[in-house]
Symmetry: D3
Amino acid sequence: MGKGIGHHQIGDSFEGFVLIKDATKGTASNGKPFLTLVLRDATGEIEAKLWDVTGEDEALFVQEQIIRITGEINQFRGKPQMRINSIRLAQATDGIQVADLLEKAPVEREELMTRLTEIIFEMQNPTIQRIVRAIIKKYQEPLSLYPAATRNHHEYVSGLAHHIVSMLKIARELCDLYPQVNKDLLYAGIILHDIGKLKELSGVVSTTYTLQGKLLGHIPMMVEEIGHIARELEVDGEEVLILQHLVLSHHGKAEWGSPTPPLVREAELLHLIDLIDAKMNMLNRALEKVKPGEFTERLYAMDNRSFYKPTFE
Amino acid sequence: MGKGIGHHQIGDSFEGFVLIKDATKGTASNGKPFLTLVLRDATGEIEAKLWDVTGEDEALFVQEQIIRITGEINQFRGKPQMRINSIRLAQATDGIQVADLLEKAPVEREELMTRLTEIIFEMQNPTIQRIVRAIIKKYQEPLSLYPAATRNHHEYVSGLAHHIVSMLKIARELCDLYPQVNKDLLYAGIILHDIGKLKELSGVVSTTYTLQGKLLGHIPMMVEEIGHIARELEVDGEEVLILQHLVLSHHGKAEWGSPTPPLVREAELLHLIDLIDAKMNMLNRALEKVKPGEFTERLYAMDNRSFYKPTFE
Amino acid sequence: MGKGIGHHQIGDSFEGFVLIKDATKGTASNGKPFLTLVLRDATGEIEAKLWDVTGEDEALFVQEQIIRITGEINQFRGKPQMRINSIRLAQATDGIQVADLLEKAPVEREELMTRLTEIIFEMQNPTIQRIVRAIIKKYQEPLSLYPAATRNHHEYVSGLAHHIVSMLKIARELCDLYPQVNKDLLYAGIILHDIGKLKELSGVVSTTYTLQGKLLGHIPMMVEEIGHIARELEVDGEEVLILQHLVLSHHGKAEWGSPTPPLVREAELLHLIDLIDAKMNMLNRALEKVKPGEFTERLYAMDNRSFYKPTFE
Amino acid sequence: MGKGIGHHQIGDSFEGFVLIKDATKGTASNGKPFLTLVLRDATGEIEAKLWDVTGEDEALFVQEQIIRITGEINQFRGKPQMRINSIRLAQATDGIQVADLLEKAPVEREELMTRLTEIIFEMQNPTIQRIVRAIIKKYQEPLSLYPAATRNHHEYVSGLAHHIVSMLKIARELCDLYPQVNKDLLYAGIILHDIGKLKELSGVVSTTYTLQGKLLGHIPMMVEEIGHIARELEVDGEEVLILQHLVLSHHGKAEWGSPTPPLVREAELLHLIDLIDAKMNMLNRALEKVKPGEFTERLYAMDNRSFYKPTFE
Amino acid sequence: MGKGIGHHQIGDSFEGFVLIKDATKGTASNGKPFLTLVLRDATGEIEAKLWDVTGEDEALFVQEQIIRITGEINQFRGKPQMRINSIRLAQATDGIQVADLLEKAPVEREELMTRLTEIIFEMQNPTIQRIVRAIIKKYQEPLSLYPAATRNHHEYVSGLAHHIVSMLKIARELCDLYPQVNKDLLYAGIILHDIGKLKELSGVVSTTYTLQGKLLGHIPMMVEEIGHIARELEVDGEEVLILQHLVLSHHGKAEWGSPTPPLVREAELLHLIDLIDAKMNMLNRALEKVKPGEFTERLYAMDNRSFYKPTFE
Amino acid sequence: MGKGIGHHQIGDSFEGFVLIKDATKGTASNGKPFLTLVLRDATGEIEAKLWDVTGEDEALFVQEQIIRITGEINQFRGKPQMRINSIRLAQATDGIQVADLLEKAPVEREELMTRLTEIIFEMQNPTIQRIVRAIIKKYQEPLSLYPAATRNHHEYVSGLAHHIVSMLKIARELCDLYPQVNKDLLYAGIILHDIGKLKELSGVVSTTYTLQGKLLGHIPMMVEEIGHIARELEVDGEEVLILQHLVLSHHGKAEWGSPTPPLVREAELLHLIDLIDAKMNMLNRALEKVKPGEFTERLYAMDNRSFYKPTFE
């Protein structure tokens, strides 16, 4: 397939398969219609202009279609923009699939799910274990596929599972360093904290927010879900309440979406581990794109900072 | 029973029955133990000192006991404080009960509950009506008795029901003025918005927060409860989601405990009506205690303002 | 006149009379001048491009002119934009007037003014009544015509009077619910609170801020005005001070333009009623434009929220 | 009269005349009444306890009385407190007057007023000059006596006039450095900016806030006053508006009491000069009380900072 | 030595050796002097009253003296307070030393210093290693003894070294998980980040802030120190700048004392690891003092939260 | 050279020499490349479009080149933009130099430096004098040339020296008014406070931030520099610490880049004088560009305010 869209520079030509993420019609100053497409593959995305389009073009080149294009990459208002020279829909014989054009976690989804299952198997508190097992069983399929967010961090296929498994690794070490921590509780909190996103987000391709996601948000939805599962399993006791508290408080502050702040040790730790893994994911991905001696683009979710990559090792 | 504790001035003598709200032991500079009691009746509360107490006194004069006392009201560090001259436990023959010493809503609890029932009966959307009816049925007893808060506003017996019924009156008029408003939805939101407080608060006398109340708060608890009831009733549909949203968003802002702000017209209106009735309750009760031309004490929940009562009518 | 400008969709053609709200000249990439016009009628407004204009065009098509145009509505940078095909000034024989192209309050201005007069007539406190009557008499003409703001809420002909009359309706009901409220004072506060806007805003068409409005603002101007009127009427006494306080404090907080927060019951209530009516006006108008199941555009003055219109009734 | 109250240390005895600033009755743990007096003279103030008081004592030793006392200065909860040994009312023969016990500006009031008059005489813009002259004439007496505030800065007899005259000195130099500044306007702004305090504060001894001061504040009152004077003088024109703007905006920000921020060069400068002179007055007075190498007490109005006095010169 | 001061309850008697942390003289209402002492040993601290003291007592019982006392623990204004029955200075024959009465890190200082040395030995970047080695050599003695803060976290003997070593453990694991991280740089940042506290704090017993500490703070002092050492070692290059940046930015935000926020990956990680270890130290120590089912005291440095200790394991 | 670029209006033609501040390539909708140039001379700057450029054009017309152009000034998206008609590089025979195209301080650099030297000569504290003299000697050349900032205030050649000298004038007067101020300390603080900018900024033409400037900022760099100089001069004592404190705290608040706020009188005064001179510089330059009766453009660094220029004198 050649080099991906994210590895091209201004001035390059591009030829290959991409996914249409978004398509909007406009009218040029000469009165002719054109399409503004947002194109993506596993390496990145770019805005592209298709000039002088026909009604047929409009009908063909729509969101979530795979297309084959050639074009040149120019600069427009300080950002790269592709001028499309040729375009056609992908055909069965091209042998290309949506999954080939999406970015994926650096670890295989099967491996991530196996790791999760092992951790649950290790748990010693039966109440916590039963609740976690029931929820993971219910959400197994989407959990293995969903991103952790629509943008900012772990925004790729299996991103949520990847985020959970990374957090569990950090947790394991912190439990060694601080033996007072309740390992089962912390692990359970990590596994459950963002499961509500499976209801909040619309899916894996062109991810948006669901109506539930907009009106309730993943945190209250997951608190409720734990309550439902506990009722179904007919388990009761402080574990249920504390698990709900961990999920509820994991954003750390009311302003950040947790109406109650962490009030249990493992809740505080869950919040901090979430912060580290999300920030390191953003940071590492941004620094990968620049050379030593350069600054990254501004990272919105990190207070709009631009980070420097030192020249020494 | 004479004038209540809240109607006494510095320099007055007091004689009558009161409830012990709080009792702590201290040691005076002469080395002798004393008790600091917080005493209340339906009209107010006061701190009182009982000097030179015996071990027996300590055992007798404990929280939630009814006692008969005589004493004088002095000033201590700018606040009234009673010096107790005589004290004894209330006896069966005194014919005095806890309920006699608690402040109550200005409307009878039966009347409040009847009003609620009528409103539910009027609802036309069957889904909304079924959910509200089921919840009210489940919580009927505590709802008729609980305060709306531990302090600040409607902090008296049947305070929550009184708050709801006042809000419903305001809502009725606003629905007339703004006919676009969905009346069933707004009424349902008003009735349900604070029902979670019945789990958040410990009871009617010496009200404190429950563990659930501290770790989850009444808002997420009530969102979950609506979910449970909807499952039990096997109702589904947007009404459930929107009702949960109304409860979730009724504090108006993340900083005030609503992780999602109001995003539905009736949610915004619910928030505003809640604000008006809570503030007017605080304000009216504070202004009742002062004369024209005076300022009230500072009202913590109203940005610590002190309000002026004009001299004209 | 056909369907108004606000009822057109992208892709529609438009033909009809509109008012030029704003006109700016630009130069296209082909070196030829063009005009960017903002056009409005009673139903909404739209940006329009008139390409290849002559010097004569520039002189003709200026702010506040009524024109007859035909054109098509396209999308430009995510917003509707009209491409003008033909344009001419309205002529006397077209029988169209500025007032026909401005949005008006849903209640007639005469009716609004009558309602105001009745309320003043009902007042029992003679000082309050005299002051209010004198001010209303002085500002009768503009009060019956001005909008309540340049944008956000009640931004239409007679908007201020409409806002006042709606607030008075809410006030009447709240006075019933909370009989401690001084009705004359609250009514007077509502009637006077925004009269300063008649000096702050430039007029009814193409409303902007006056120099006074920018350097003082309507609140201090109205406090001063009450002082002047009181001197002219030779009335004195606490009523004058309290009325000034109501006007001064009606934005609720220093950050929102009230250097003193409400410190009188009726001042607090005035602030809350103002909030409700302004918000409901914005909200109702925004929701009117969307279908059930959709979200409104973002509402800047409501914390930039986008509101959902439920699908049930 | 010996050393003043502010120059005594813990452990010292005191003998002399003081003014009672505040008197409150309490009851000691032995059941006997006592008086807590706040005593002041020109050098400072101290809390004092008078034990075992009679009803006659209570009647005699009240606010604003001059008394002669002897006592010792102890430490109580980290602060100095006087234990009174003997106390009596001052008598005519003692030849002591209230003015002797109040702190005064370091410059004579006559000199301050002369300086003010000279500055007004220098003004060249007749409108500005007439307004300033009329206001100063009206408020001459209190202006020569009032403090600039109840505490924090220039809180002494003639403090306001002292503050104005110091600000005028700074202004003169800044006008030399920045010749674009309109000197008449800046001088007028400085002279008028705090005249509203003469209505906001109750007087020179035991200064408190008036009802007007609490409900309107000195800024809106002074804006109104300028409007009244302009009407009386029948002057009109932009000068009146700009002077009102200078007064209105001189606190610099909405949060600090100026609903409109400075939008004219001289308004910005007025705000900055006010800041400098107020801060330097606080700072100099606090540093005077400590030795080189020490820190001052915390200064509430300077973000609660405690300042260091270096050991070198 | 019996049970320490921190393990006593209200009502207990105490007998043993303690250190005087603070001593202030007061005068009782009977006119007699008394001493308020703050007493501490390795387990905690308590306020104590010594009544009717002589001048000799005052001279003997001063800050940093070791004394032997007997007394009873009462409650005063909601806090424990000891009433001293007998008191004498410790004597040589008592065999008690200051170090016995101070809390220490749970790991021996020698072990902590050995661990530090090993880590420095492992570093591969020679510039970083030379700088770190030089600084550690210079500050070896105080580094092995100082607390990490005067209160909140690691406020015990060798607290700073303990904090550093714990952070290094976390860092090692995170470097495994995120191999892009520059391990030498992160380790060096951790070791150096708080060395400035050795100049900011006065010592190990009765720790206060030095003048330098108050006027500059440990962060700018350490940035300067790295500059000095680099000059002395005659090393240059980006490593010096980046190490200074890590120290400068480690509080994460301007409001928290870092004028520049982290702009290098390892700087961000250093900030997060510091946060985790400081918070876990506070939290673990607070939870140790309560039983399952209870809440801790409010933790000021953790947003004044009170944490819950669950009842299950 | 004719009228400068900053004195042209929309519709004017321009002919003259300018400096290229920035050049970016784009592709027009017709597929041809164009250059967007930012052009400046001593009077201002403008964006310009050069259409249909060749590869040679791209290579010639780059940053910091002097060019001679003719063109017309149009409006584009509300801002002036030049359409270039002819363009060529300046030649030796044109006799034009970079310095001719940069804005300069209104006072000659030699005069500014002389003034600085005189002030240092007047100092009486030998330690302060030696430190200041050594630093000024070291940085003499850039200090005489650098701007005080990249934009907002004193952003012209010799801007920093101009800012310092203006501040010294204000300081002299304030020292007369408040004789308690340590004049040497205040003068030294003013001279040194922004010297760190000589390392923070890249130079005089096309000024940007250096890596050091981004990662440390001028304040910590200057604190360190004072430490180095003091070591080199082998001076010690409180003066060094206090000078470092003055530099460190001169932004006034942590949020504004001073991790320690001013805690010494002269530090507070330095901060206030800096504020005045920076604001007056911005304000005077903005007001110069508008006529009486107009408002300035919005000033970002002054809370985005737009200032009014009164019509009277």
